[in-house]
């Protein structure tokens, strides 16, 4: 075999390997979705979506959990995005390269890998006890914001790094200030990347249970939150509660709730992808 043939061979095998790995991920997701849909699809109807939790599995619904999840995500977005994107811009554009900033950098990357229960304990100490927010939806969303901040910061920085230097130089060349350059050049061209980071982080936040149990999410909440200081439940909490029950009916209800959670995640991601694509078209 000559060198050329050998390279071609390696090239082909790597391609096959890549396809296999991709398929593996899709296959596992497929099996999961198939199992859940088979178990829970028949359970989903209008009553299931609009009923309160109940001890009777066939009567139990996820109304308060859906609203709780949506409210919690909305608040988390409101807190996490400005802070996360702001911190990312500062670190990338303003902060001088010093020992301090590199320590900061390493720490933020490390924070992204801290188990979520630790954020729960942190939230319990700071928001629930110290600030006295109690087991409210405010405490929950602030805790989740902390959880996803590192991801948003890292994604924002990477997206800003990818903005061609020539674009920025051109802006400066026209006499624009730093803020004008960030506002008119850097942010618009990195928006797609930042949004991707936000999608990923929200997809993580929406499935969290452990930190929310610690900061006070309840399993049985027969009302929807009226203010940010109200008690709340979320879909993962309801799913967790149902999967541990002995009655088979609750396993089916849990499968139904998982489908709804997946749909909400898909829709959320879909909206973000739509905005990203629209934005990129406008840029071109």
């Amino acid at each position: 075999m000559n060198n050329h043939k050998k390279n071609k061979y390696i090239d082909q095998s790597f391609k096959v390997l890549g396809i296999l790995f991709t398929m593996l991920g899709i296959f596992i997701l497929g099996v999961l979705i198939y199992n859940i849909v088979i178990a829970g699809f028949t359970r989903i109807n209008w009553d299931f979506l609009t009923s309160l939790p109940s001890r009777k599995p066939e009567r139990a619904g996820i109304y308060t959990a859906i609203i709780g999840t949506l409210d919690l995500m909305l608040l988390t977005v409101l807190f996490a995005i400005p802070i996360g994107v702001g911190a990312g811009i500062y670190l990338e554009e303003y902060a001088k390269k010093s020992k301090f900033s590199s320590i900061l950098e390493i720490n933020i990357s490390n924070l992204a890998g801290v188990p979520s229960i630790i954020y729960g304990l942190l939230g319990l100490g700071i928001f629930v006890r110290f600030f006295g927010f109690g087991g409210s939806i405010l405490s929950g969303s602030l805790t989740l914001s902390l959880l996803i901040l590192p991801i948003i910061i890292v994604a924002t920085r990477e997206a800003i790094k990818a903005v061609p230097h020539s674009l920025k130089e051109a802006s400066y060349g026209l006499g624009a200030s730093k803020w004008q350059t960030i506002k008119n050049v850097v942010l618009p061209s990195s928006f797609g990347g930042i949004l991707t980071g936000i999608i990923l982080s929200l997809s993580r936040a929406i499935g969290e249970t452990a930190p929310l149990i610690v900061v006070g999410a309840m399993a049985y909440v027969p009302f929807v939150p009226h203010s940010i200081f109200d008690t709340y439940s979320v879909l993962p909490m309801q799913i967790f509660s149902w999967t541990t029950r002995p009655q088979q009916g609750f396993a089916i209800a849990a499968a139904g709730a998982i489908i709804v959670l997946l749909i909400i995640t898909f829709v959320m991601n879909g909206i973000a992808v739509y905005f990203r694509n629209k934005w990129q078209k406008r840029l071109k």
């Binding site: 939790p53 109940s54 309840m218 049985y220 002995p246």
Partner: protein
Amino acid sequence: MKKLVIIMSIALVMGSCGEKKADKATELTGSISIDGSGTVYPVSEAVAEEFLAIEPKVKVTVGESGTGGGFKKFATGVTDISNASRDIKGKEIELCKENGIEYIKLTVALDGITVVVNKENTWAKSMTTEELKKLWEPNSTVKKWNDIRAEWPNEEIHLYGPNTSHGTYDFFTEEIMGESGASRTDYNAVSDYNVAVQGIEKDVNALGYFGLSYYEENKDKLGVVGIDNGSGVVLPSIETVANNQYAPLSRSLFIFVNKKSAQRPEVQKFISFYLANAPKLSKEVGYVPMPQSGYDEQVKAFNEILIKQ
């Protein structure tokens, strides 16, 4: 981005408006916060659900952060009522004292810890409490079935039990080993009993323990081990748990009520409602009700603390 915010705001507003309006005019309002044991959760959830029908303006929430986790919140005054599948411990009592929390303990239902095996298990029909101790004690040397009884198979035994956060774990170790928390550690410690059910169902050499309701719901898939504490073999059932024949593994399920909270009318009404409906509702969710005289005693005890205040 603006559109996204608008869509989510609409969802928020819609949710807030959609709450079911009460059709009866009632005076009681306020909120009651309950947390604690996942075992007691179904009973409190059932009571809260029924209570909502008669007092729709009282917001009752029930969490399940575990008996220990529940007591932590209860002892710092975060919750009004704590569900517990075991009695309150020394450290928790101290924490309550530190924070000036006084409470009353009420029994709401009974449960039997059931020792289960695989359906195909033809040998382990009963065990003595000594055998259970030998099997589960810390550093137990039992590896195979014939380490327990010589005539049982020379096969490795696979154990399932709750992890240390469960009140069931504390209770079982207390009753069998004589010391709460004393257990061998080389077993499959589960947080969700359905995992133990699945594991035992598929493994002929498996043995585990959990609450009676998990056995009752899976009777067709599991075998049960009778318990002999010296006065003959007793199988767990609603009858043997209710009359305490199934000893020593019959246990009480409790709610702990903060005495200060009990001064509030909505909490008083809720507790009275709880005790009046616990016989029916505890049975419905898979537990064993006490005899009526037991509930009468709880009502009396609760009324006494109200008079004192």
